[in-house]
């Protein structure tokens, strides 16, 4: 091997059929790009703060600052048991939304051209962000649950209930992440994409996450009962605390899967459009 020139001996006249990305290559590439996105998460102070510490502080805020007052208004005896599922979903939604910023940054800087000039399946770059978001969110959710247990959260869930809850939460994270990807592909700048994060921040407040919807004014209540987050929260709450789930379970699955089925193809189309101009 030469060390004095930049190029290794060139492979002249080597003409063979264009190599196609094999499944093994795609998996190896996905691994590399997931690693890239995870590094971004760890390096990006804002996202880490948003994803981990902010939900934790919200948990403490709701339990200790608002908790005393709110406890009086709900049927359940311990507000901490009521609010933890809500904070879990807030956490998940939150740091899924930062995916929008990652995607927009990739699309608006030269780095996407770099990836596209490589012999890889371009989509895997987005997939890396999605998987990293899932990992990041499950991690911060676990942290929130850990802190909640320390401050008196006492779930009644069996092992299977926990598995089901993690499944529903993962589905929710995926849904939020893909919606973020779509917004990231629409947004023309990282600033615009981060505005989306702000929007997502408010959805859980208008659900049964922190207070029962029965306590809201009629108009708001109509929205709250029929937005996707309420059935998801009621399902998670039912699984963890043994409250009645009722129709919430299938509504939660229909909402999440339904949104994924719409958002993923739309994102694919947006991605194609933005990478061929």
């Amino acid at each position: 091997m030469t060390t004095t020139t930049y190029a290794e001996p060139t492979r002249r006249h080597q003409r063979h059929p264009a190599p196609r990305p094999s499944l093994a290559w795609n998996i190896a590439d996905a691994w590399v790009l997931i690693g890239r996105s995870l590094r971004h998460t760890v390096r990006n102070g804002d996202a880490l703060f948003m994803g981990v510490f902010l939900p934790m502080m919200l948990l403490l805020l709701f339990v200790y600052v608002f908790g005393g007052a709110l406890e009086a208004g709900i049927a359940q005896s311990d507000y901490v048991d009521y609010v933890v599922p809500g904070v879990i979903l807030l956490t998940a939604g939150f740091s899924a939304a930062t995916t929008a910023v990652s995607v927009t940054t990739d699309m608006t800087t030269g780095v996407m051209d770099r990836f596209r000039s490589l012999p890889i399946t371009n989509w895997i770059v987005v997939l890396g962000h999605v998987v990293a978001s899932l990992a990041r969110n499950l991690f911060s959710t676990a942290l929130v649950v850990g802190v909640a247990l320390l401050i008196g959260f006492r779930p009644s869930a069996s092992f299977l209930d926990w598995v089901a809850a993690v499944g529903v939460i993962s589905l929710f994270i995926l849904m939020m992440t893909w919606v973020s990807v779509m917004f990231g592909l629409i947004a023309k700048s990282a600033d615009a994409a981060s505005g989306f994060t702000f929007f997502i921040l408010f959805l859980p407040y208008m659900s049964s996450a922190f207070v029962p919807v029965e306590t809201m004014p009629a108009a708001l209540r109509g929205f709250s009962e029929h937005q996707p987050i309420t059935p998801i929260i009621e399902t998670v709450r039912g699984l963890l605390m043994g409250t009645p789930i009722g129709d919430s379970a299938w509504q939660a699955v229909v909402w999440t899967v339904g949104i994924l089925v719409i958002v993923i193809p739309v994102s694919a189309r947006l991605f194609r459009r933005r990478t061929t101009s």
Partner: protein
């Protein structure tokens, strides 16, 4: 299969339009293996579009192209295997370190982890980035980013490299470093397609120069061949005022090849023999146009460009030109590259 064995890069009749506006109007290129072609033209001439099409980033409307023997339209995967691309905007990951960028890209070229690491180390040293290797790229200077970007395109040692305006916006020292790297690549046998709006760059580096304007190749040849089109020598005349210079242009009356520089007080025209200079000076004296300074120079590619298109090509600003006007110092310098001002410097 195309007969592309002697040419590493070949394009014929490339056409591209954006929303009805023609950007490429039949571009033909042929770059023999192991040589370098400079695609020279002003902003908006179609240089970047050509590079993006040839590197499979952009679909095109007509024509054919092969890179490394692979058909650009039908075998993009093959093209990506033999090609390293360095774009106009450093396409590296800002959040990762320099080393992480190179290792990641090496692995995406499927070099394997160990080999990707070795290559990254090697390139970081060769590109003078070893000290900054473990710093996030967002802390890098413009020149460092460009070098890292170029290193990223070289990680898999591709036999063909595209360099899209690799020195635009770099300070003179960084530009010199980049040129050294490019020369080393050529010595190593790499085929290079370089785009530039700097005449000097094409002149310094390339085996052949293709001049592109308005989506068409308007001239193609060695730098020397192109220069022959505008005579063997040029005389540069400096005048006290723009009025004098315009009067002089009228007197010499060679509108096809004589042209005023951007500062409007200097006139450049071709001469074939020393007698020509005397004729010109006599004509000016007869018309009572005072000449402040005179000098002879070899024709620059700027002169070529002017002859071909009727407009000046932009060229890189030098530190003196960036600051305050240096003022007229007639006769102290006859090199048009350093004398002509950067008033037309396009962004």
């Amino acid at each position: 299969m195309t007969n592309s064995h002697d040419y590493a890069i070949r394009a014929s009749g490339l056409k591209k339009a954006f929303k009805g506006a023609t950007v490429l109007d039949g571009v033909d290129l042929a770059v023999p293996e192991g040589t370098m072609l400079a695609l020279l033209g002003p902003n908006g001439a179609g240089k970047t579009t050509t590079v993006r099409i040839l590197s499979t980033l952009l679909p095109f409307d007509g024509g054919e192209a092969t890179v490394g023997g692979y058909d650009v339209a039908r075998e993009p995967g093959g093209v990506r295997h033999v090609l390293g691309l360095t774009g106009q905007y450093a396409s590296v990951d800002e959040i990762l370190t320099g080393r992480e960028n190179l290792v990641m890209i090496g692995r995406l070229y499927h070099l394997g982890r160990a080999r990707a690491r070795d290559r990254a180390d090697q390139l970081l040293h060769q590109f003078n980035l070893a000290d900054a290797a473990d710093r996030a790229v967002k802390t890098y200077s413009g020149g460092m980013r460009r070098r890292l970007d170029l290193a990223a395109s070289l990680i898999a040692a591709p036999p063909i490299i595209f360099l899209d305006e690799p020195t635009t916006g770099l300070d003179p020292r960084s530009r010199q470093q980049m040129w050294d790297v490019i020369r080393d690549l050529l010595r190593g046998g790499t085929t290079i397609l370089l785009t530039t709006q700097y005449l000097e760059e094409a002149d310094q580096l390339a085996d052949r120069v293709a001049v592109i304007d308005d989506g068409r190749i308007i001239a193609d040849g060695t730098a020397a061949e192109l220069k022959e089109r505008v005579g063997t020598e040029r005389v540069e005349l400096t005048f006290a005022s723009a009025d004098d210079a315009r009067a002089a242009l009228h007197v010499v009356d060679r509108t096809d090849t004589a042209h005023l520089h951007d500062d409007a007080t200097r006139l450049s025209l071709p001469v074939d023999a020393p007698d020509d200079v005397r004729h010109v000076l006599n004509a000016l004296a007869a018309a009572s146009v005072p000449v402040n300074g005179i000098g002879l120079s070899k024709p620059s590619l700027d002169d070529v460009f002017f002859t071909l298109t009727g407009t000046h090509a932009p060229h890189p600003p030098t530190p003196a030109e960036d600051g305050t006007p240096t003022g007229a110092r007639p006769g102290t310098d006859t090199h048009p590259q350093t004398l002509s001002n950067s008033g037309a410097q396009a962004r």
